[in-house]
């Protein structure tokens, strides 16, 4: 299989995992149905809600890029760095951008955070390898 298709598959699977994983495969929160009650009595979503939402949005973008790569060999040198950057964003999301709860025993830290970081790292490594190979020369077609 050609290189661009390998990266396309990995990106598509990562994108699907990010889009549909939160709430279905990995739990976000167990506390009060994702909302917290302020002193005034008003309910506001807890920040892990936004972590999951951002991950789902990024997942959609990554899936789209993966599908483009599947069909476009010429896209590999351009889209590899984009996917590398997207993978970095996925890793940074639960750590710094929209950090999860400080309590380590909450589901956002036990399930959502490792899933996002793991998916992001796999995407970064695959994109980096693809980029390195793309810069080296034309890809080989598997026999």
């Amino acid at each position: 299989m050609q290189r661009h298709r390998w990266l396309g598959i990995v990106a598509s699977v990562a994108g699907l995992l990010l889009m549909f994983g939160p709430h279905n495969l990995f739990e976000i929160c167990s506390d009060h149905g994702l909302f917290m009650t302020l002193k005034s009595g008003m309910q506001v979503p807890m920040r892990c809600t936004w972590t999951a939402a951002a991950a789902q949005g990024l997942g959609g973008l990554i899936l789209l890029l993966g599908l483009v790569l599947w069909f476009s060999k010429e896209g590999l040198p351009t889209l590899s760095p984009v996917l590398l950057g997207a993978g970095l964003l996925v890793v940074l999301l639960p750590l710094y951008l929209v950090p999860t709860c400080p309590k380590p025993s909450e589901p956002c830290n036990l399930e959502l955070k490792p899933a996002l970081i793991g998916t992001g790292v796999v995407l970064i490594v695959t994109a980096a390898v693809a980029l390195g190979l793309a810069r080296r020369g034309p890809g080989r077609t598997a026999a």
Binding site: M36, T37, P102, P104, L110
Partner: protein, 419 residues
Amino acid sequence: MASLAGGPAGLLPEGADGVRDRISLTYLAVQNLRRRPARSLLSAVGVVLATGTLFAVLLGLAGVRQSMAVGMQRLGADLLVVPAGEERHVQEALIMGTPTSFYMDHAAAAHVAGIQGVLAVSPQVYIETLESASCCTGRLMVVAFDPATDFTVRPWLGAGSARTLGPHEVVAGRLIIPPVGQPIRLYGQDFTIAAKLVRTGMGLDETVFMTMEAAYAMAAESAERAEKPLRLPQGAISALLVRVEDWVAPPLIVRQIQALVPGVDVIQRDQVSRTVVDGYLGTMRWVLGAAGVALATAVLLVAVMFFAVVSERQRELGLLRAMGASAGGILRLILTEAVLLTTAGGAAGILLGGGGFALFKDRFTYSLRVPYLWPGALELAGLIGGTLLLAALAGLVAGAVPAWRSARMEPYAAIRQGE
């Protein structure tokens, strides 16, 4: 083949024209490993898995020890005196922050303080809060302390020992969500967080500390303010924190306390640490065993691979000997290849094992119910260095016999057999 004239660092003696165009052992070894990347990778897989597992388990152990050391040092006590039968609850509260509450007569404090060798005694009251409406808070452990005798909380407040907590102030563990200066509601009353502890990795991170006066006032007003009243018997205490003189062995004081004060258990600081570390090792025992078996298997696999390599490359090695390479040089070449292979596998194992542990640390420690704090840089460097050394030793062991056999080959016979 490139010119192989070389000096001491290379395989061959310097050429007659003095050209020092030498190929180093390491360069040759790397090129040989790169010639068959799939075989090299497959041979290294066992080393990667074994070292990765070993590194992850040892990283866990180092962190558990670090957390216990920091947490128990923060507590400041050598001994904890608690009502008989409550030892397990206290340990769970200390280690995992599991809220608990139990009481005993405060008269025990005077008895313990009178024992020779006891430096300081400070009573504490343990209170379990109600379910919180705040995000991710749940039930908390509240510890009420006596400001007159306290030696645990005051150091955390900074500014020397002059600073004391006000009646509506608390000190919170690092994982309590509201920041310093913000309110936290307990039994219907708002308290301001005056300070926060540094992270200990233990139950102290989810504990709130207040003065006994504040606790009794909170209990008295809880009937009107809270969803459920707090019943706190006047004058009751939950535990005594005891500091002993440096010249006294804590077990001696333990025996005296048990003789003077019936109906109590005495927990030693080292005992808590040992229990937790032993518990962790007990659970990880089978994992360590599996990693050991995996490493032994990996060494065998690498040895078998190098037997095949030496057999394949007889002609090449014979030619090198014929061109002036010494038997020792051939031995070093094969050993260098084996060590490079396993060390690279070890490095990859450290990355995978360390990365995997970092990713799932919270789940891991939560499932095993052990505290955790990342070890210091020096200890981490030691762990990494030790694991790499082990991987390199594995390569030495695996490559020893094939290397010895290759060094013993007669050049002419090797060239003829390799044709």
